[in-house]
């Protein structure tokens, strides 16, 4: 179920990132949906699967951005950061891991680091004139916007999860052995 969900999210993220008409773009700043999916995988799994999903998202993002730049830049960056996050989060308590503020900061850091570094590396490898300040500025705004969207998504999922157990709480009509013994 989780794999299907992640696969669907990744597909839609790829479509949304490359579509010509992007109504979600604000002041020319577009969110990085694929990196958000990678971030979701990091939070969803505590083991190697998070790294694998992050790598796939990074590779797809590499394929969609840049026509002549080499592949694998975002893949490597996303994998490295995912390992660091896993190492850090494993030491935290479960309550702290679910903190909205922490999730927001992690998301900002993830999107910002991958986005800015990959742009700078691509520019350097392609010998293109690159304005580092504006790249960093754009990446920062993009990461903030992406993280805000991610937090909205996380909150929505948590809200849905709180409703889900209610439907499962059905009153059992069968008498248990314990009750039979008591009566």
């Amino acid at each position: 179920m989780k794999y299907t969900l992640l696969l669907l999210l990744m597909y839609f993220a790829a479509v949304f990132e490359t579509t010509a008409v992007q109504p979600w773009t604000v002041f020319d700043i577009a969110p990085r949906f694929l990196l958000l999916v990678a971030m979701a995988a990091v939070l969803m799994f505590n083991d190697w699967r998070a790294i694998a999903w992050t790598a796939v998202c990074g590779l797809v993002s590499d394929c969609l951005h840049g026509n002549s730049s080499p592949l694998g830049i975002e893949l490597i960056l996303a994998c490295c950061l995912a390992v660091v996050y896993q190492q850090t989060l494993s030491k935290e308590k479960e309550e702290q891991r679910q903190s909205v503020l922490l999730t927001f900061l992690l998301c900002v850091g993830f999107v910002f680091f991958v986005n800015a570094t990959s742009d700078i590396v691509r520019g350097a490898l392609g010998n293109n004139a690159l304005d580092i300040v504006s790249t960093i500025e754009w990446s920062l705004w993009s990461s903030l916007y992406s993280a805000a969207l991610f937090i909205i998504g996380v909150l929505c999922v948590r809200k849905i999860k709180t409703f889900a157990p209610l439907s499962r709480r059905r009153v059992s009509t069968e008498l248990t052995n314990q009750w039979k013994m008591l009566t």
Binding site: T19, W48, P70, C79
Partner: protein, 313 residues
């Protein structure tokens, strides 16, 4: 955790291999990923279009669409204005040429006399399809032949567009028919009550025309030729030399200018132009600007003897 590190190591290695892999491999991978998300793009566009049409149906028109409609209307208006100015420019150019020729006249300015033939415009209503059908079937005029009210057989048998004026205002076959500054055709049959219009697309229609070329905001006559109707929706221009410049979209104007029609009148625009190998002339097809049955009224240019001259005799 070890497994995570191992996976990360493998992924990083894959990334490094990909970054140094040959371009054909990276291009193949890129193409595969981009092709796979194409159906998603198509679905997204479909969803966007559907949402837009639903919003329009509910009365929430997109302001950009409204703006586009207004801009299109404005563009049409400017096009009309441009065509009128272009027509005037050509007239002024030909007048200038005429003046240059007559500038060296050594005699004092001649006294002006009334012209023998004058032109007058007559506004006529176009009979719609149903009205024309009833008229041809005699449903509108059934007083009988004895009273001399019958319409001419030539008019009744013709399938051309009918107008409600005829010989009583001295219309004659061959009189040009206009709608504003656009040529619609010519009068083909004149009856007792009505007349028929031969459209420019009629196979028997011929006119001398000029093709005007626009470049860098300037207009100049690029070629002359004979416009002929083909019986279909497009007209054809013949006898345009292969050495002339002809472009698709060039406007076509009447070339026969005299004292009665001082300004060139618009026919339409060049739709297709073909120059076969070893051919000496162009094959040009023109889309007429107007068809008679699209109009409610037309104007007919009549030529008649000047009554002042007649009375002076």
């Amino acid at each position: 955790m070890n497994k995570s590190l191992k996976t990360a190591g493998i992924c990083v290695a894959v990334g490094v291999v990909l970054s140094v892999s040959p371009s054909w491999l990276t291009e193949t991978l890129r193409s595969a990923v981009r092709d796979s998300i194409r159906p998603g793009h198509a679905s997204l566009v479909f969803v966007q279009e559907s949402a837009k049409s639903w919003l329009q149906r509910l009365g929430f028109a997109d302001p950009s669409d409204l703006k586009l409609t207004n801009l299109e209307a404005e563009l049409d208006e400017w096009k009309l204005r441009y065509r009128r100015l272009q027509s005037e420019l050509i007239a002024q150019q030909s007048r200038l040429k005429q003046l240059e020729k007559s500038a060296s006249n050594p005699w004092p300015t001649a006294e002006k006399f009334d012209p023998l033939v004058i032109s007058r415009l007559a506004e006529c209503r176009v009979l719609g399809h149903d009205l024309a059908k009833n008229w041809r079937q005699g449903k509108l005029l059934n007083h009988g032949l004895d009273e001399g009210l019958a319409e001419s057989d030539l008019v009744l048998k013709s399938s051309d567009t009918l107008i409600d004026q005829s010989e009583h205002i001295q219309l004659a076959a061959g009189d040009p028919v206009y709608a504003g500054r656009t040529v619609v055709g010519e009068i083909s049959q004149v009856g007792q009550w009505t007349s028929t219009i031969r459209p420019v697309t009629d196979a028997n229609y011929v006119a001398f025309v000029q093709i005007v070329h626009q470049a860098n905001g300037d207009s100049a006559v690029s070629a002359h030729g004979f416009l002929e109707g083909t019986g279909e929706e497009l007209c054809r221009i013949k006898d345009v030399q292969a050495t002339e410049y002809v472009h698709i979209g060039d406007p076509v104007y009447s070339a026969k200018q005299d004292s009665l029609t001082p300004q060139p009148m618009f026919y339409g625009t060049v739709e297709r132009a073909k120059l076969d190998e070893n051919s000496l002339t162009w094959d040009i097809w023109v889309r007429p600007a107007l068809q008679p049955d699209e109009l409610a009224t037309v104007t007919v240019l009549r030529r008649e003897l000047n009554p002042l001259r007649m009375s002076a005799q």
